[in-house]
């Protein structure tokens, strides 16, 4: 092999590596951004392109989003309406204050009607062990009857909680905690 052929072969080899590396370079850049973001914000390691799935119990689907409505000066817990389930799914991986506030504003802008003593569907399985927090419940819907009036919402509180698990070596079970990672209160224009 002449020196010219060797030069050509070396050049070919390095350009092959260069072209073949382009997608991996993009992967590394996005993974570094995700790694930094997940360590400095509320981004779950499972999402964002850093391949941190199956590394922590703090998966977005295990994060809990709770909703309270402020009516007549009191905050009442309310089950998240099904209409908003995809919004909640989008919020859970990265519940920054801005993203949480946006969702709270959208919830506050909708019409809430005081329900007639019905338990929220998700409360029914645990109702035998405990009581509802309040006799008053609200649901998101258009008022259908004359006696249903639209509630005057003074504000909406959205909280996001991340799971944390501590193993109990004696029982082989453990304690599962919920830690608050976001807490946003949005006052409606009526209160302003």
């Amino acid at each position: 092999m002449t020196s010219e052929e060797i030069d050509k072969s070396v050049h070919h080899g390095s350009s092959t590596l260069l072209v073949a590396s382009i997608p991996t370079v993009l992967l590394i850049v996005i993974a570094l951004v995700q790694f930094t973001t997940a360590h400095t914000t509320v981004l779950t390691p499972w999402k964002g392109g850093g391949f941190g799935m199956f590394s922590t119990v703090d998966v977005d689907t295990a994060r809990i989003v709770t909703l309270h409505l402020k009516v007549e000066g009191t905050e009442y817990p309310v089950e998240m309406p099904r209409d908003f389930s995809s919004d909640v799914e989008s919020l859970r991986p990265m519940p920054t204050a801005a993203r949480t506030e946006r969702l709270a504003h959208r919830l506050a802008a909708r019409q809430w009607v005081e329900a007639d003593g019905h338990l929220a569907p998700s409360l029914i399985p645990i109702a035998h062990t405990t009581e509802p927090k309040s006799d008053r419940h609200w649901v998101l819907k258009q008022p259908l009857h004359d006696d249903e009036r639209i509630a005057e919402i003074e504000g909406v509180r959205l909280q996001v909680w991340a799971p944390r698990f501590i193993v109990d070596d004696e029982t082989g079970g453990g304690q599962l905690y919920r830690d608050e990672i976001q807490n946003v209160f949005v006052a409606t224009s009526a209160e302003d």
Partner: protein, 298 residues
């Protein structure tokens, strides 16, 4: 009947004679068609592209085709950055790799595709290992301990090998429900107790170290430099045998078929330079994951 058989034979013969780079493009298009999670605005143009690419080799081997495909897949990621799973990002990198490959003269394509598949897969595994290594609740077994007690896909393993009963599984599900919805009650709880069994901890530790160990091994094998023997037959064999075992074994833990298929295509792409037994094995593995996904055998 004869017509069907002759057509089936023609398809088999066609795929056998199809250039391997084009075959990877076909696999990639099927992957996108079945497993890409796309926002409504991008679905229609991508489906049109996929059908056109599947029908015409000239289209699927055109770099402009893969440039547009990469842009559309990246657009889907931009649209839904946070909720999307990691393998959706991998689809973009694979598409970009094909754009780079088809941009080259034909005689260089196999080599670049093989190298691209190798380092992409190595980088994915390295990122997964780094995340697991720096996350405190992974290395001490907490993550898999919790998963064995609560995750639906691990429940059968927890019952068969971890010694917990279906009643404990049900009780733990109720506890999870309580943690999610107790804020609606007069007694909101900040924590709940999950029940387990003495064999869960060692089982969780075994799965923990097996997973990170195999991922680390794959990262090393796929990123092993050529000048240090990365092209040696032994390394090649070890790389693909480990990947096939990993995909086959990990499916019960993480039944994400799209991710499995993307890893298979990367492994297949790494076999682009020369015919090998691993090519048909990878195609069979794709079908196996698809079948297993429908049957949900675990």
């Amino acid at each position: 009947m004869n017509w069907t058989l002759s057509n089936a034979r023609r398809i088999v013969d066609g795929s056998r004679n199809m250039p391997v780079v084009s075959l990877v493009a076909v696999m990639m298009l099927v992957l996108i068609l079945l497993w890409a999670n796309l926002t409504w605005i991008i679905i229609a143009p991508i489906q049109v592209l996929v059908v056109a690419g599947l029908l015409f080799e000239k289209i699927r081997t055109d770099p402009r085709f893969w440039c547009v495909m990469t842009a559309l897949l990246a657009g889907a990621i931009y649209w839904d950055w946070y909720p999307l799973d990691n393998h959706q990002y991998l689809f973009v990198y694979l598409s970009l790799a094909l754009f780079c490959v088809f941009h080259l003269p034909e005689q260089r394509r196999k080599k670049v595709l093989a190298l691209s598949g190798r380092i992409l897969l190595g980088a994915v595994m390295a990122a997964a290992v780094i995340w697991k290594a720096v996350t405190p609740d992974y290395l001490d077994g907490t993550f898999f301990h919790h998963a064995l007690l609560t995750h639906p896909h691990l429940q059968n393993i927890a019952i068969a090998l971890g010694g917990i009963s279906p009643e404990i599984i049900n009780t733990n599900e109720e506890q999870l429900h309580l943690l999610h919805f107790s804020y609606l009650t007069s007694v909101p709880v900040e924590s709940v107790t999950l029940q387990g069994a003495s064999r869960i901890a060692p089982l969780a530790l075994f799965i923990t170290w097996w997973t990170i160990g195999v991922e680390a091994l794959l990262a090393v094998l796929f990123l092993w430099p050529r000048r240090l023997g990365g092209d040696h037959r032994f390394v090649f064999l070890a790389r693909h045998i480990t990947l096939i075992l990993f995909i086959t074994a990990i499916y019960p833990l993480a039944p994400v078929i799209g991710f499995g298929w993307a890893l298979i295509i990367l492994g297949f792409a790494n076999c682009a330079e020369k015919p090998t037994i691993f090519r048909p094995i990878y195609i069979a593995l794709m079908l196996f994951l698809l079948f297993a996904g429908y049957v949900n055998f675990v």
